[in-house]
Each structure stands twice: as structure tokens, then as C-alpha cells.
Subunit: 476 residues, 2 copies
Amino acid sequence: MSALDAAAAAAPVLAAQPPRERASWLVAAAGALLVAADDLVPLAVEETGLTEPRLRGEIKRTAVQLKLFAEVAAAGEFLDVRLDAADPDFVLGPRPDLRRYLVPLGPVLNFAASNFPFAFSVAGGDTASALAAGCPVVVKAHPGHPRLSDRTAEVLNTALPAGALGVIHGQDEGVAALQDERITAAAFTGSLAGGQALAAIAAARPRPIPFYGELGSLNPVVVTPEALTERAAAIASGFAASVSGSAGQLCTKPGLLFVPSGPAFPASFDAVGPHKLLHPGIVDGYTRRRSEVLGTPGVTVLVEGAVTDDGATPTLVETDLATLLEHRDTLLQEAFGPLSIVVRYTPGEPLGAVLAEVVEGSLTAGVHVAAGEDSPWLHSLVTSLQTLAGRVLFNGWPTGVAVTPAMQHGGPFPAATNPTTTSVGTAAITRFLRPVVYQDAPAALLPEPLRDDNPWHVPQHRSPAGESPSWGSLAG
Amino acid sequence: MSALDAAAAAAPVLAAQPPRERASWLVAAAGALLVAADDLVPLAVEETGLTEPRLRGEIKRTAVQLKLFAEVAAAGEFLDVRLDAADPDFVLGPRPDLRRYLVPLGPVLNFAASNFPFAFSVAGGDTASALAAGCPVVVKAHPGHPRLSDRTAEVLNTALPAGALGVIHGQDEGVAALQDERITAAAFTGSLAGGQALAAIAAARPRPIPFYGELGSLNPVVVTPEALTERAAAIASGFAASVSGSAGQLCTKPGLLFVPSGPAFPASFDAVGPHKLLHPGIVDGYTRRRSEVLGTPGVTVLVEGAVTDDGATPTLVETDLATLLEHRDTLLQEAFGPLSIVVRYTPGEPLGAVLAEVVEGSLTAGVHVAAGEDSPWLHSLVTSLQTLAGRVLFNGWPTGVAVTPAMQHGGPFPAATNPTTTSVGTAAITRFLRPVVYQDAPAALLPEPLRDDNPWHVPQHRSPAGESPSWGSLAG
């Protein structure tokens, strides 16, 4: 049976399971993943060139993520159960008994990323949230780690129900699956060009489906004059670590650092050695982008770096705001690798408005401030950063994304093709659910979460009859 | 200033307002609408041909809807504020302070419908929910009621902030607005062809935006053998009222009634006189669809009806399940007008599975059951109806949609282009919001809803540090 056949057959089975049952096998799958770490991590090192410590951390994070989504499933709040009691005296006329909850969309297609072979791949976030929602998942494996993808699925499938997780390989197979009418939603983490092509295919289906793409991000960070005075060296070293970690192959790598004009920025990349890039496509793309940036008039080199057979070492350049705006078509494009641009600005100029105008939607935007710093300029900057990003962070670096209820990983296009959801954090479960309401249903025919005796013990939010609207108090 | 210029200028102003302030002007706008009813309703009668009682009810419903969304705004729960405390001992490593809420997307383009000149037009649901979310709205007026559209906007604008609501006219102007980069989301209620064309334009933008289309629905209703035995006459008269109300020009009109084979179905349309259709385009489309249905082999006429200069009288035909399947390309298309198809089925056959297979996504699906009726066949039917619809209703008729917290108006394509949201009911506000998280922000730089002193008095959901994950109890 093909992965799609199996997923289609599993969909009604998973949908009918109490969320606590889903939670049990998600926890078991997380356990199986950790038990297999000594088998999987060396394979990941071999296929991706990422370091063993990084991959050990990532597999643990991935297992914990599965468990967090198990918790979300078991808690049942994600079902968003709303029970409106029948009300013959409702302000709009008699109101029926209405009981609403969220149901799984059905089989989900997940295009895996190259740069997180665990956390954004077969066992990654979109898989965890879709399974927790009750959707079978078909993963289109990334060609950068095909054997790891198959092996990961084998490990997880020792714990998962039949058909809940399948893996397919190949670009044509991925496109065919995206066009298959049994697929009800798709998620993608990868390049702008690839994501736009897949989004267009999803939109052109006879029956279009939700497509959640994360396509790239510049992640601008602003350093205020006061912050630079307070702690230039600490900022420079934190920046260097964030740009060079995993050879800059992170969607949250800071690609732009805005520093007030003045003394030389103390770039501190000396200790960073070469790091392998993930696959030849990234070597090509990064080499080309790096050459474009280095060849742009008005750009000076702070740290030249290189791309060799041993891998890449970081490249840091500097320019000013006027040059950035003049050459925005070149300089305001993501370089997926260890390159970043220091942009000098004049204190007091309306930097926030300029960034909101010219920087495309970004996963993150950051600002470094001095202790107790506050000013209208700073407030305006923060408001502008919010308009262009899904995460606004202070006195830190965007790489490293916590998996928590409040996390938001997404943003205006192209950070995300749909800015209303997240791909990291437990709120991601809503991507793969749709609301259904039951009207005047006899008790015996209600789904479990909507019944008054609440056999699944899920939270139920009730709007009783006779609640008197309070809008009179809002007038004036 | 153009409507788009004004909306773009208003966006940051509205976004910065406390939701209670938005609520105040929404309530004032609702009041202005009711005060102007004697002015607006005659204009609506003249332009649409709908009856005065229907339109008096609709304008009241529309005003109440604005007030309900004012309540939703004032309550602040829609902001979905999540505060994760910093936690140095978090299971995945040190967790930063994360504070998430939902912010307005920005200017929203709303394509008005013809059939609800108040409730799905300038002052309608998508306008109310977008304004409550803090988004300025540009309405592309429906050509069926252009003067009413302008006049409604004038009335509302006596109460709304500058730029919060504008109206544009013309198909080319609508498309140009949909392509304008300042528009951040669009909503549409109308035909399948029109909605698909607009959805494609939204998807093909350099920066795609969320597009919420409601494109059509067959709204199948099943009568069980026991229900028919219990109350055939009552079912027949309720069905007649639901098919013929507003000349069937409702997205929730029951287009298919599945009745067990047996004695003649007691069709009771005798008392229904002619009712004007909304505009010439609907006359043409309905006349063509009616001819196609009447000309299909295996279809017999129960009530012939007609389309004349006085309007339309209902047409009811009968066929069997085999004929429906054989001619699905003709019979399983929406007829926007007072036509419905009675389909005879053989008791015991797997009707639910057949419907889930052949009926496209639908706003509603209904079933009439006898008191206390219960069987595996019935459970299977209900499960199937859930897979194809956003609302599953019992012993009632789909026309008439309550505006409540639990209502769901949407469903799998083509009922909706995006099945994860609703266009009716207070949950609709989420269409026009996106999440933003603040990480480690100094208190002085936090937006009001995220501050510990909570100056807007909105609900805040906290995840304290040191919460011990409970997934150990989920294992096994």
C-alpha cells in the first residue's frame, strides 16, 4: 500500500481516537526516538555534515517536542469546544443548541527541511502537531538526508498506529502528492523559490488546500547607540555566535545588524573554523549570494571568510543605510549560510519606518537596548519591528527557538505564506484542524467532546441561555 | 484620498486603540444603522427585490452582529494573550520570557454578496469582525445594490474613525485592490467561478495574502425512514419553506433532500407565490441550471415552477441515488434559486459513504431522525456528514444562521476556500489577526496587553516557570 493510501485509510481511525490515546503513542514514539539516538545521530552526521553535539541536542529537542504535543492533545483545550445553549429569547430570535469543536483536516503532506534533520524533518514540528491534531502525515523526505528519513520513520512506526506516518522521496513524487485529492493540507520549510512553486500548486488544485510555507527571513537586529556604548564587545561576540552557528544555515540567522555610525564594529569571528554546508545546492546558492554581496558598490569587507572543500567560514560586510536602500534588490535577500551585513545608521533617523518599508516579512526582528533605555524613537522602532516580524526579541539573538505555548515562528510573507499560524510552539496544532458545529443534535448522536457527560473529559466553554448582552455599557 | 490610501493611513491608528475603544464605535455604528433603517430598507427593497419584512429583520440582525463583535473586542479574549515565564530549568534548556498576542493584519478587502444587502455587505459579518480585530475595511460593493452600499457606508461613517471603512465599485477596481500591496487579507461571498478567480489573483500576488472565500453549497439533508413515518407532513412543509424563502437565494438553501423510497413525498409548495430574483445575472444562471436539471434523464418533476418577469416560483424534482450518481456532473451543482432535488434511497444502503464520496464540501448537512432513533447506520451517516460540512444539523433546516460563539459557517472546499475559519459567529475575528511574540522585552517596551500590570484588563493565560511536564503519566 502506498503512503497516501495508508494515510487515507488511517485518517478516520485517528480522527475517532480520544486525544489521550493519541498522546500515548506520541509519547511512545518520542521514547523510541531517544532509544535509537545512537543509531540515528551518526547517520545524520554523515548525511548532513552537522556536528554530533548539535544533532544530539536536536534529537532530544525533537523527542521533547513530540511529548509537548502529546500533552497538548491530552489536555483537550485544542479542541476549542464551545457549547451555546438553546435560547428562545436570544436577541436575534430563538437560538438553537449549538456545539462546536475542531476536527482533524485529514492526511497532511509535510515537506521536510534540510537544516534540521530531526526537528524540521520526519519527526519534526509539523509532524508532531499534525499527529496530535489527529491527522496522518506523509513526509516528503529532504534529499539531503534520505536514509536518515527512512530510518527515522521506521523507528517512529514501532510506536505509531498503522498509516499514521509515511515517507516518500523525490520531487515529482512530492508534487504528485501535493496534487492528490486525499491530501488536505501541506507544510513546507525551505527556499523562497521552492515554497512559492509548491504554494502555487496547492492553490491551483481543483480543491485548494491550506499550505503553510516558511520561505526565508532576514531577521534584522538593531543596536541602539546606548546599548553599543554599554556593551559593544558582548554584542559583537553574541552576534558572531548567532551568525556562525551551524554555518549560518538557520532560518533565524541574523542577516542584518544595524549599528550606529561611529568607531569600528568589533567583529569577533576569529575563533570560528570552517563548517560543512548541508548539500551541494546550498554551496552553490550561498557562493553566488556571497559573491553578489561582496561585489556590491559601497559594501566593505570586515571579515572575508571563504567557501572551500572544508566548508564555509563566516563573511561579514559593512555598509550604510543609503547603500542598503540603493542596492536593496541585492542586499535585502537572504544568504543561507554564514554571511551577515552590518549597516551603519545615523542616531535619530527614523530607522523603524525605513525597515518596515523595505525589509520583507521576517520570522524575527531584534533590538539591543541599554538598561532602562526608553524614548519615543525606541517605541516607534519596536512598533515598526512588530509590523514586519512574528517574533520581536530584546537583548538576545534570534537563533534558538523555544517550543512553548507562547512561541510564534512565522510572520508576514515570505517568512510565512500564511501569517495567521505558527510552525513552532504548541499553538501550531491549529494548522491542521477545522471547526464543525452540531445543531440541535440528540445526545446519542453527538461526538464525545460535545456531550454533556463529557466522556473524554475535555474543557468545554459554555454560553448559557439568557446571558444578557452587555453592550449598553460600551456606548459613548 | 482613495479608500485604500485612507485604510492604509488608518491601520496603525486602529491597531493602537484599546479594544474597548473599538467596541465603543462599533456600538455607535450599530446604533446609526438602526436609526437609518427607514432610509436604508426602502432602498434595499428597490435595488434587490427582497421583501421589506425580510430586510427589516436583516438590518436588525446586522446591527446586533456589530454589537456582538463589539462585545468580543471589549472582552479581549480574542487577543489570545499567552505569557510564558522565563524558566532556566525548562526541559529543553533555558526558556526566555515569551509574551504572545494577536495583532491586526492590516487593511482588509471585503467583496460583498448580493443576497444579503446588509448582513453580508458593507455592514456585514466580515466587516464587523475585521473592524473588531482592528483592521480597516475596504468593501468592494456588489453591483446589485450600489446606492445602498454607498448610503450604508455614509451612515456607518458617522460613527467610525476616519479611514476605517471605505467602499469601492467595479470589477476592475476590485481586482486592482486585491492586487494592491497594502491589502493584507480579503474575504468574498459569492459564486464558485468568481471566488476561484479572485482566490487565484490573491495567490498570485508577489506577496500572497489570506483569502477567505465562501463559494457555494448543496446542503444535503437526509430523512431517515423512521422520521418520515413519524412526521412526513411537517418535514415536507419545513422543507418547502427552507427551499423557497428569499426565492432560494441563500447559500444554505437545501439543494438535496434524501428520502427513503416509498410513497410519494408530500411536496407542499402550493402556497408559494413568485419572488423576484436579485439581479439579471442570477436570473440567467438559475434559468440555465433549472433547464439542465429538468432535462436530465431519470429526473421527474414534482413541482414544475417557473421563472417569469414576476419572479421565480419553486421547482422540485425527484430522482434516485443511481441517477444522481450517473449524472453527478449536472445534478451535484448548486442551483442558486428556488430549486431542490428529492433523491430516493433504499433504507440500509450506505448513504453516508456515498454522500462523503460524491458531494462537494458543503456549509451544512442535515438529518431528520425520529425521537430516540439510534443505529450503527445512523452513526455512520452522521460521521460522513461531518466530513463534508461545517455544520451538521438535526431535525431542522439549514437556512437561518445564528450569530453566536459556537456558530460555524464554512466547510471543505468549495463551501470555503479555507476550511479552518468561519464567516459567521464571533469566532470569525481570528481571520484577520496574526500572532506576534515578544521575547525578553523590558516592561516599558511591551504592548499593553502583554504587560504584567495589564492596563487594558484583558485575559492573560500564563505558563509559569517550573511547571513539571506530565507526560510520564501518558506513557503506556
